[in-house]
Amino acid sequence: MGKDAEPLAENIDLAIEARGLVKRFDGTAAVDGVDISVPRGAIYGVLGPNGAGKTTTLRMLLGIIDPDAGYRRVLEHERPTEVARRIGYLPEERGLYPSMKSVEAIAFLAALRGVPLAQGRLRARELLEEAGLSYAADRQIRQLSKGMAQQVQLLGTLVHDPDLVVLDEPFSGLDALNQGRLEQLIRSLAARGATVLFSTHVIAHAERMCDQVAIIAGGKVPFAGPVDVARDRLRPQVRLETRARDGQWRAALPVDARCDLKSGGGAFWYFTLPETGVEPLLRALIEGEAGILSLSIERAGLHDAFVAIAGEAAARALEQPETDAGKERH
């Protein structure tokens, strides 16, 4: 553990807590000082572009690899392997033994987590039936389609009713129907009290499902916290339609407001909501007789927030090429 990496004080309700995690491969930092706090029972997303360090971060949190520096605590244990039986993990690169039957594959994954083989087989059949895959129970993995094999592996990840479920890019390779099913499954896991941590590079999934997110870029986490807070990083965008084109009210609009003149008179105005808020703006427009025809204020989406946040981080990374140059390789 690094000297500067101390546990957080308010860690009572945290399923995962990590501070200052660093991992270097061949001298280059794949992960460079990551802080993450995942509340118990939350659905938590790790967002980042490919090669940002998501997988390496998850592997460190699971104890598959050890950090070069930093502190981690998973389900109240500093050595994640000690609580491996309470964790379910679906890696980004899916893999099962091709010659195993589906039911045996799930039972094997259960046995790895301490479930007796016979019990694992029973549970496997139940899960396959619930997932509508009972017909594939006695088929070898190599006989299944890629999507079905992926579902079997997902069931194997959940067969032992884990307290913490870690999914690395779980939506990749799934069609729209199965993506919807997976979203439902993740919600049901959280509803029964499990903590779900998943990585993705598709914002829409995180925006729909996550209570909190960590945005990771260049091996660093420029933002971690509730989704709303991330969205609030950007000011809302205003779209205004006025009858008048000029007047005293123009002073209330930001100087960089974009204007599209209408052919029959009047104009559209696009600008970021001033920090003073909407009320002074409205007052100025009304008192200045701008003639408001329509007004919409749109809150920034997570996508916009991500681009803004990850973009800043990328800019910072450009100034430190020696630390982040190798992240794509891990």
Binding site: F25, L47, G48, P49, N50, G51, T55, T56, R59, L62, G63, I64, I65, T81, E82, A84, R85, I87, Y89, P91, E92, E93, R94, G95, L96, Y97, P98, S99, M100, F108, L109, A111, L112, R113, G114, Q153, H201, V202, I203, H303, F306, V307, A310, E328, R329, H330
Partner: protein
């Protein structure tokens, strides 16, 4: 936690064992020893046939006045008493006074090993230098017998059989030791190679990450090693049973190796224990190598130094066997990787058991060290390589 580790190792070992034993590849593994036997059988049969034709050595005889017939008769009477027998003698010509016989020309034209001409008093052997050296005495003996025509009297020799002699026993035990070492080496290499390809297959199937996330890496390591050890036991049992059936059916005989100094039962037990130690040491090294490799090609490249090291170790132990009582022998017994080979050779030659107890403890200690070290290295390297690098696509976000 220890029980968790053992349980995890058991889960991995059970999976690997079942997967290997019930695979088609295992049938070929079991049939492996059959191939050299079958090839050896056919090669032997063909070789014997060729040899039989080649060995049908005939000596032509051309002598005057029926002397040639007498010589052939003498040959027939004496050949049975000569070790290795004698070549066939065939009368080519019964010469009359004044007849000329060109033995050299006959040797060129006919497939004869030699030609005997002249008379019984002064036989002439025409042949190559080697044949003349070999058969000179024989022709003289036959001629002498033919000339007298008297049956030779051979006194009976009473045999006083001893089971063995010190010299014979020692050389036999050295042979047993060598055979044990060779068998140990071949089995170890075969299995270490199998455990390595098993691991590479797992990496190729992308299962290794699930395993690494679920169980401690040393449990995975141990499970894999012991699974292959169990596979080897099945293999040895099948081969042993097959060989036993062949012996009972009279198809093969038990090899005539001298009994080892500790006796066959104990030698076999020690042989298995030393095999297990040698395999665990080499297997742990190979697994650590496998952790660093992603493809079969990489495995072949990386495992080459380990294979060469094992060969050197084997030659070292064999070399030490030929130098009993020297520091080389002692060094081979102490050096952990060569110790199983050297100690098995010792079991063949010396009856003392206490050194084996010490050696097994010593080797077990090194097995633990190498397995632990190998597992650490494996853990450090096996998850180092992730998915293939992809271009960053900001637009996907």
């Amino acid at each position: 936690m220890l029980s968790h580790r053992l349980q995890a190792a058991w889960v991995v070992a059970r999976r690997d064992f079942v997967a290997v034993v019930f695979s088609k590849a295992f049938i070929f593994f079991l049939l492996g020893p059959l191939f050299p036997i079958v090839v050896g059988f056919f090669a032997g049969a063909i070789g014997a046939s060729v040899q039989q034709n080649l060995d049908r050595v005939v000596v032509g005889v051309a002598m005057p006045d029926g002397q040639g017939d007498l010589l052939v008769k003498a040959r027939d009477a004496l050949a049975g008493h000569m070790e290795g027998g004698a070549p066939d003698f065939v009368v080519l010509d019964r010469l009359h006074p004044g007849d000329r016989f060109d033995a050299r020309r006959i040797l060129k034209d006919k497939r004869l090993a030699a030609v005997v001409t002249g008379t019984l008093d002064a036989p002439v052997l025409t042949a190559t230098r080697e044949r003349i050296d070999d058969w000179n005495g024989m022709v003289a003996l036959f001629a002498a017998r033919a000339k007298t025509g008297e049956p030779a009297v051979f006194p009976p020799v009473r045999g006083d059989v001893v089971a063995t002699s010190a010299a014979r026993e020692h050389s036999g035990q050295v042979l047993t030791a060598q055979a044990g070492q060779v068998l140990l080496f071949l089995l170890t290499m075969l299995l270490a190679g199998m455990v390595l390809s098993n691991l590479v297959e797992e990496k190729a199937n992308k299962i290794i990450e699930v395993l690494a996330a679920s169980i401690p890496m040393d449990a995975l390591f141990l499970g894999k090693l012991f699974a292959m050890l169990a596979v080897s036991i099945v293999g040895i049992a099948v081969w042993g049973a097959g060989y036993g059936v062949m012996v009972l059916a009279g198809l093969r005989s038990i090899p005539l190796l001298a009994a080892p100094a500790v006796g066959w039962p104990l030698f076999l037990v020690l042989g298995f224990l030393y095999f297990a130690m040698a395999y665990l040491l080499l297997g742990a090294m190979f697994l650590a190598i496998g952790g660093m490799a992603n493809t079969v090609r990489e495995v072949q490249t990386l495992s080459m130094p380990a294979t060469m090291l094992q060969l050197i170790v084997f030659f070292f132990a064999s070399f030490a066997l030929a130098r009993p009582g020297t520091w080389l022998e002692r060094a081979a017994e102490i050096f952990p990787v060569s110790s199983p080979y050297a100690m098995l050779a010792r079991a063949a030659q010396h009856a003392a058991l206490l050194p084996h107890l010490g050696a097994l403890c010593w080797q077990a200690l090194w097995v633990a060290v190498i397995v632990r070290g190998g597992a650490l290295l494996f853990r450090r390297t096996v998850m180092k390589s992730g998915p293939a690098p992809r271009r960053r696509r900001a637009s996907a976000v």
